[in-house]
C-alpha cells in the first residue's frame, strides 16, 4: 500500500497547479472587483508554494510502501 504522504503530495500539487494557473490568468486579465491586499497576489505565491510542496512530498514518498 502506498504511503498517505504520497497522496497528500499529489493532491496539494494538483490544487497548487490549478490555483497558480488561475492566478496567472488573473494577472493577465485583472478582475473588475479586487479583494483587500490583492496587489500582493496571494493566490500566485500560495498556489506556487502548494505546487512545489506537493511535488516535493510526492517525489519523496513515491516509492515508500506500508507493510
Amino acid at each position: 500500500m502506498k504511503s498517505i504522504w504520497y497522496f497528500v503530495g499529489l493532491m496539494l500539487a494538483t490544487m497548487g497547479a490549478i490555483i497558480t494557473a488561475s492566478a496567472l490568468y488573473s494577472l493577465a486579465n485583472p478582475p473588475a472587483e479586487s479583494k483587500v491586499l490583492a496587489h500582493l497576489h496571494p493566490d500566485l505565491w500560495w498556489g506556487f508554494l502548494m505546487l512545489a510542496f506537493g511535488i516535493f512530498f510526492a517525489l519523496l514518498h513515491r516509492r515508500k510502501t506500508v507493510r
Binding site: I18, L40, P42, D43
Partner: protein
C-alpha cells in the same frame, strides 16, 4: 445572505478534493481484508500518521467556525481550549494511560471497561457513547448544510445528502483506514486553506501588536483578568477554567472519548501509540494561529468603521460563526476561495467520518458482539461494520433534521459532552490507578455521574436552581456553567465510585494484570535513549505550553 461567489476554478478545486477522497476509499478497499483492518486500520500506522489523525478527528469545521466566532465573542480566553484545555490531557494520555489501553489489545474504550470492570459497565458506556456519537454526527451534518446554505447559497438538502453519501461510500469501503487517510488530507487542507486568513489579516494591520492594540484589553489576555469574572470576556474565574475545562472536560474528552483515542489504537506499536497524542499536542498548540488570530483580526476590523467589516445578523442576534467566511470573502481571490471552502468541507466530512467509524466499532464490538451475537465470525463482524456505517449515516441524517428544529443546538451538544465524557474520566482514572475499585463501584459511579450531569443541565435550563449555585460566582456565562457542571458530574462519579467500592466485591488481582498501575510491567521504552522517549517530548510540550501561557498572561 453572503455569497462567497464561487468561480469555475473554485468548483474545480472542490471537485479535485471529492475525486481524491472517493478514489482513496476505492484504492484502500483492497487492503481492508478483515475486521482488524476495518476497525483499527490493521494497527500499522506510524506515530505521525496516527498523531495527525488524532488531532484532525477533533479539528472539524464546526470547531473552526465556532472557535473563530467564539474568539470574537469572548476574546483570547478561547485559547484555553487549545492550551490548558488540551495539552496536559494529551500528554497524560500518552505517558500514563496509553500503556493500559494499547497493551490490553482492545478495539474500543468500552472494551477496556469490560476487562477492568464488567460487562454492564461496558454496555452502559457503549450505549451512551453510541447515542452521543450519532447526535454529534447529526449536528455536524446539520451545521455543514447550514454553512453551505448560508454562505454559498447551496440547497440545504442536496449539500447534506451529497456529503453524507460521500462519507458513507469511503468509510464503508475501507473503514478506519480511509477515515484516517482523509483526516490526514484534511489536516493539510486546513493549514493550507486557512493559514492565509490570519496571515493576510496581520499584514493588513501591520503586525500582531497592531491587531492586539485595536481590541479591548480584557479580550487580549489569558489569565490576568481571571480573578474577577466581571473583568473578562468569558465571565469566568480561574478556578472554573482550571477545574472545569483544564481538568474534567479536557481530560474527559482527550483521554476517554473513543473518537480520538481510536486513532492511537491504530498505531503499529506501544511507543507509536504513546507518541500519538504527544505529537498531536504540538500541532494543537499551533491551531490558535488559525482560529484565535482570525477571530482577533475580525474583532479588530469590526471595531474600525472604515474597514467595512461587520458580522452578519440573524434578526437581533449577531452570527458569530460568520467571522471566518467573511474573512475568506475579504481576502481570498478565485482559486483560494475554492481552497478555503474545501478546507471547511474537508473538516466537516472528516468529522463525520470520525464519528461514524467510532460508532461502527462500538456498535459491532460492544453492543452487537457483547449482547446479540457473542460467537460472530470475523467475516460477519466485517460485514456488520460496513452495514453499521450505512445505518449510522442514515441515522445521522435523521438526527440532522431533528437538530434543525432546535433553536440553540450548541447548548445540547455541550450537555451531551458533559453527560458522557466528564464522569467517564473519573471511572477511568480510578480504574487505571486504584486496584481496589470494584465493578459495582464503577457502574453505579458512572450512572450517578451521568445522571447528575443531566439533572444539573435540566435544573439550570428550567430555572429549578440558579446558575450561581453551580458556578460559585454571582455572574457566569453559559460556557462557565458548562465547565462547572462537568466538574460536579466528575466529583459525584468519583465519590460514588469510591463509596460503593468500599462495600462491594473486588475483582481478583490476577485478572487485573496489564490493566491497572502497579500490576502492569513497565515495558514501555526502557531500551530507548531518553531523547527518543515519549517522556522527553511530553516534557517539551508542557514547557512550550507554560511559556505560551506566560507570554500571553
Amino acid at each position: 445572505m453572503v455569497t462567497l461567489g464561487l468561480n469555475p476554478v473554485d468548483w474545480l478545486v472542490i471537485a479535485v478534493y471529492f475525486g481524491f477522497i472517493l478514489g482513496l476509499g476505492y484504492y484502500l478497499k483492497k487492503f481492508t481484508r478483515n475486521q482488524e483492518d476495518f476497525f483499527i486500520a490493521g494497527r500499522k500506522n506510524s506515530s505521525w500518521v496516527a498523531g495527525l489523525a488524532f488531532l484532525s478527528a477533533n479539528l472539524g469545521a464546526l470547531e473552526l467556525l465556532g472557535m473563530t466566532g467564539n474568539t470574537f465573542k469572548y476574546g483570547m480566553y478561547v485559547a484555553h481550549f487549545y492550551w490548558i484545555g488540551a495539552i496536559p490531557a494529551m500528554v497524560f494520555l500518552g505517558l500514563y494511560m496509553m500503556p493500559f489501553y494499547y497493551s490490553s489489545r482492545i478495539h474500543s474504550v468500552p472494551g477496556y471497561l469490560r476487562l477492568r470492570f464488567d460487562e454492564k459497565t461496558r454496555v452502559l458506556n457503549a450505549i451512551a457513547f453510541a447515542v452521543m456519537t450519532l447526535l454529534v454526527s447529526g449536528i455536524n451534518l446539520y451545521a455543514m448544510a447550514l454553512v453551505l446554505h448560508t454562505f454559498l447559497g447551496w440547497n440545504w438538502d442536496v449539500s447534506m445528502l451529497i456529503s453524507a453519501g460521500t462519507v458513507a461510500a469511503y468509510v464503508t469501503l475501507s473503514g478506519l483506514l480511509s477515515a484516517i487517510f482523509t483526516e490526514i488530507i484534511q489536516f493539510f487542507l486546513i493549514w493550507f486553506g486557512l493559514f492565509l486568513v490570519s496571515a493576510l489579516g496581520i499584514i493588513e494591520f501591520g503586525g500582531v501588536r497592531e491587531v492586539m492594540a485595536r481590541i479591548p484589553p480584557s479580550f487580549a489576555t489569558l489569565w490576568s483578568t481571571s480573578g474577577d469574572p466581571a473583568q473578562n470576556g468569558m465571565v469566568i474565574t480561574w478556578a472554573g477554567i482550571v477545574l472545569g475545562l483544564g481538568f474534567v472536560l479536557s481530560f474527559g474528552y482527550w483521554t476517554t472519548d473513543f473518537l480520538v483515542v481510536q486513532r492511537a489504537f491504530s498505531a503499529r506499536d506501544l511507543r507509536a501509540a504513546r507518541m500519538t497524542p504527544i505529537i498531536a499536542s504540538f500541532f494543537k498548540m499551533a491551531v490558535p494561529f488559525l482560529v484565535i488570530m482570525s477571530g482577533l483580526v475580525a474583532l479588530a476590523l469590526a471595531s474600525d468603521p472604515k474597514s467595512g467589516f461587520a458580522l452578519l445578523r440573524d434578526g437581533n442576534q449577531v452570527n458569530y460563526d460568520s467571522a471566518l467566511p467573511l474573512l475568506i470573502q475579504r481576502y481570498y481571490p478565485p482559486g483560494l476561495i475554492g481552497l478555503g471552502v474545501t478546507a471547511l468541507l474537508a473538516g466537516f466530512m472528516a468529522g463525520q467520518a470520525g464519528n461514524v467509524s467510532a460508532f461502527n466499532t462500538v456498535w459491532t464490538y460492544d453492543i452487537y458482539r457483547a449482547l446479540i451475537n457473542p460467537k460472530a465470525s470475523d467475516d460477519l463482524l466485517l460485514w456488520m461494520g460496513r452495514v453499521t456505517t450505512i445505518v449510522g449515516i442514515v441515522l445521522s441524517v435523521g438526527t440532522a433534521y431533528w437538530a434543525k428544529s432546535f433553536p440553540s443546538i450548541m447548548d445540547y451538544m455541550q450537555a451531551i459532552f458533559s453527560w458522557v465524557n466528564a464522569p467517564l474520566f473519573a471511572t477511568m482514572l480510578l480504574g487505571m490507578f486504584v486496584v481496589w475499585i470494584t465493578p459495582n463501584g464503577a457502574f453505579w459511579g458512572l450512572l450517578a455521574g451521568m445522571g447528575s450531569s443531566f439533572f444539573l443541565f435540566l435544573a439550570v435550563k428550567f430555572a429549578w436552581i440558579t446558575p450561581a449555585a453551580i458556578t460559585l460566582s454571582p455572574v457566569a456565562s453559559d460556557m462557565a456553567a458548562n465547565f462547572w457542571r462537568a466538574w460536579w458530574a466528575w466529583v459525584i462519579c468519583f465519590l460514588v465510585t469510591i463509596g460503593v467500592s468500599l462495600f462491594t466485591r473486588r475483582k481478583p488481582r490476577e485478572e487485573l494484570v496489564g490493566l491497572v498501575k502497579g500490576l502492569t510491567a513497565e515495558t514501555a521504552t526502557v531500551a530507548v535513549p531518553f531523547i527518543k522517549k515519549p517522556e522527553f517530548y511530553g516534557i517539551i510540550s508542557i514547557v512550550v505550553l507554560i511559556l505560551l501561557n506566560i507570554y500571553y498572561w
